[in-house]
């Protein structure tokens, strides 16, 4: 229970259906930790695990009459989510902390806690569907009824074991329906706005966050400054550090040219940021590793799928082929814009999540 509408409504619905529900909130990050640090706002502005959200979750639990506990997973969150998030940016990639949090915290640590305290399943407010397919003998992850809220992109890492103990009660509902249900259950937070940003990065300014985080840990920001080069290798300027860039970025390049320039590639090893025109951003292939397959046991032969390369990307038709034990090649029918290392490539067969991997 995050203290938001979705998880609160899930708790209320399951309780109304007669389930024995225990409310849990994961304390993942101390918002006060970096407040006032190195250009961070003095006031606590981030949403993750804020006192207000915990207060809201607690009020919901009390309102619907379920036991409620806050469980502390700050250490694991820092180790498995925050540190990799910082390290990825510093090596020129663009990370997705939400997937890491799902894989390592919400559907790992939280499932362990659930099992320890005697719960059979963990239910969350994610917009996705999970169901068992008898013919395949596998648990399937499917896109939700409300496509605009689809969160399957962040859930591609779930294992069969995790899916078997997970409930997504909102999978068949739209957001307006969820709010309506929240009102029916008399939840005071039915109109609470959705959270958008990365929960532990106040105001979405990840650069300031990285500076403040490293300063607080007593580490200095590694020098990742280097050259700004064109696709032909021509040096056209300098940049202050590769973590300030992401593929497809246009603003903040610090060079003035006639035609618009975009970041088309970041070479972490030699600290180069490669820029080019919009057409340079398009590519037909990507490679992904650390692959997790959900709908199938193994990828023995090439498979037609549609592939999403970022959360807000329209899944595009492609051919999926296995190239190594833990690596795949995706060849799109049409070139795709700004394929970004560090993001996930998630493979769909209709609304079924076949699996996914991390773009190299």
């Amino acid at each position: 229970m995050s203290g938001g509408v979705d998880s609160s409504t899930v708790a209320a619905m399951l309780r109304a259906e007669g389930h024995n529900v225990i409310g849990l909130t994961m304390q993942l990050w101390n918002q006060r930790r970096l407040a006032g640090h190195e250009g961070m706002p003095e006031q606590v502005t981030g949403r993750c695990c804020s006192i207000d959200d915990v207060y809201d979750a607690r009020r919901v639990a009390e309102h619907i009459g379920i036991p409620y506990y806050v469980v502390n997973h700050e250490e694991r969150f820092e180790h498995d989510v925050v540190r990799p998030f910082v390290a990825e940016y510093l090596s020129g990639r663009t990370p997705i902390p939400c997937s890491l949090c799902n894989n390592h915290l919400k559907f790992d640590q939280l499932l362990v806690v659930a099992q320890q305290i005697g719960a059979e399943c963990v239910a969350t407010g994610h917009y996705a569907r999970v169901e068992y397919d008898d013919t395949r003998g596998r648990w399937l992850l499917r896109r939700p009824a409300d496509r605009s809220k689809d969160q399957t992109y962040f859930l591609f890492g779930l294992t069969q074991e995790q899916l078997s103990r997970t409930l997504f009660p909102l999978g068949g509902m739209t957001k307006p329906e969820v709010r309506e249900r929240a009102r029916e259950h008399g939840l005071a937070l039915a109109e609470k706005p959705d959270s958008q940003e990365i929960c532990f990065v106040p105001g979405g300014d990840y650069k300031r966050f990285i500076d403040a985080y490293l300063a607080e840990s007593g580490e200095s920001l590694p020098d990742t400054a280097g050259e700004l080069v064109t696709a032909n290798g021509e040096v056209i300027g300098e940049h202050v550090g590769i973590h300030n860039f992401t593929v497809g970025q246009r603003k903040g390049l610090g060079v003035a040219t006639g035609s618009p320039l975009y970041v088309i590639q970041i070479n972490g090893a030699d600290k180069q940021v490669v820029v080019g025109s919009d057409e340079h951003l398009y590519s037909r292939t990507l490679r992904a590793h650390r692959v997790n397959l959900i709908a199938i046991h193994d990828l023995r032969e090439p498979m037609r799928v549609s592939v999403k390369i970022r959360h807000r990307h329209e899944a595009a038709p492609a051919l999926l082929e296995k190239t190594a034990a833990d690596e795949v090649l995706v060849t799109f029918d049409q070139p795709q814009r700004a394929i970004t290392p560090g993001q996930a490539a998630v493979f769909y067969d209709g609304d079924i999540v076949v699996g996914g991997g991390w773009i190299i």
Binding site: T25, Q27, P67, Y69, V70, N72, V113, Q115, Q116
Partner: protein, 389 residues
């Protein structure tokens, strides 16, 4: 209705029926402001002063040396910031309650120097460390009497002697010692001693600070001349009456030997658990402890899951300290006494109150071993160890 047994009395205690009865008239019938000169004020003034006598009797001091406060945190803050100023040096320990630690941290920011003494494996402060930490500008020593997590009693009398020899103030946070062990401020040789109402079966929101006669104390609040100008603000009369009654009952309890009964009950719990659960041990077992507390670690058990599991079955115990969200933070006390981080997380505090009975202890003994066994079964580390051995 689920049977619920409460073994978390170091967090707070239920108000005893006699205490509630004593307080009741002061919510309605006797409502006067104790500073008023009329009949109504005289009535409540008399009640406040009777309570002051009772608290003084519990601590072995004069009534005029008692300042009523809002609780332990206020008493500790009043003593620590009231006895020190910029440039002064304070000696305290690393296992104090946050009321002391955070007050000291604040004073550090305000220009005081603070030494945080380490503790040994039983969470004991070494009096020689206190002596060695003395500096020419040392103004105050603040060492707790009993620790809230382990129940271990500090050598306060020895520390009191050191303070007297060095002519520095000695404050002790006695919140977890009061009503559990006999307290005599003269024997301890302290200049200030804080207690809290709700830890001794009085209500939350009231406490008392003993301040030795003649001690100059800067107040925390400015206002009227209440409490001999040491604590401004209209007295919390019902709370103070409750604290007085609880003090009276505690003193009577010592005469009956309640502390021995309590330690027998605690030992029954502790031994019952240790006998049934392997790879468990008591934190601070070899040190003198208050009679109601047992902090026990269970290897390969996540304390947080244990507390939740037991609560869902009706047994209230605790682990670590709750942070503002209610999540559990690793105990600074257990870490300071050198306990491995995993054992600190695997530690559960059982603390008894006057209301607890042998049946309550047996209820716990029926639940705890089973809960530990289940949690260990789900612990990957425990399985590895079991295969290895």
């Amino acid at each position: 209705m689920m049977r619920r047994i409460y073994l978390d009395n170091n967090a707070t205690t239920p108000v005893l029926p006699e205490v509630l009865e004593a307080m009741r008239p002061y919510f309605g019938e006797h409502f006067g402001n104790a500073s008023s000169i009329h009949h109504h004020g005289q009535e409540t003034r008399a009640a406040v002063e009777r309570a002051r006598d009772s608290v003084a009797a519990l601590l072995g001091c004069r009534a005029s040396e008692i300042v009523f406060t809002s609780g332990g945190t206020e008493g500790d803050n009043l003593a620590i910031s009231g006895l020190t100023g910029e440039g002064d040096h304070i000696i305290t320990s690393s296992i104090e309650h946050h009321a002391v630690l955070h007050a000291c941290k604040h004073l550090e920011e305000m220009g005081c120097e603070v030494t945080y003494l380490p503790v040994d494996g039983c969470s004991l402060v070494d009096p020689d460390d206190v002596r060695r930490a003395l500096r020419p500008n040392t103004k105050l020593i603040s060492i707790m009497m009993a620790n809230n997590e382990t129940g271990v009693l500090q050598p306060v009398e020895e520390i009191g002697k050191i303070a007297a020899e060095a002519d520095v103030y000695f404050h002790t946070d006695a919140v977890q010692a009061a009503a559990k062990v006999r307290i005599d401020v003269k024997q301890i040789g302290c200049d200030a001693l804080a207690i809290s109402g709700h830890k001794i079966h009085a209500p939350q929101g009231v406490g008392a600070l003993y301040v030795r006669k003649g001690t100059q104390l800067q107040p925390l609040f400015y206002g009227g001349q209440h409490e001999r100008s040491r604590r401004a603000g209209t007295e919390n009369v019902p709370g103070i009456v409750g604290l007085g009654k609880a003090a009276e009952l505690a003193l009577r309890g010592f005469e009956r030997g309640d502390d021995n009964t309590m330690s027998a009950l605690r030992d029954r719990l502790q031994q019952g658990i240790l006998a049934q659960v392997e790879d468990s041990a008591v934190n601070g077992q070899n040190a003198p402890r208050v009679p109601n507390t047992a902090s026990i670690y269970f290897d390969h058990v996540e304390g947080e899951s244990m507390v939740i599991s037991l609560d869902l079955k009706g047994l209230a115990v605790s682990t670590g300290a709750a942070c503002s969200s209610g999540a559990i933070e690793p105990s600074h006390v257990l870490i300071a006494m050198g306990l491995r981080a995993d054992r600190a997380r695997a530690s559960i505090r059982f603390s008894l109150g006057k209301q607890n009975t042998a049946e309550d202890v047996d209820f716990a003994l029926a639940l705890v071993p089973e809960a530990v066994a289940r949690l260990r079964e789900l612990s990957p580390a425990y399985k590895r160890q079991a295969v290895g051995s």
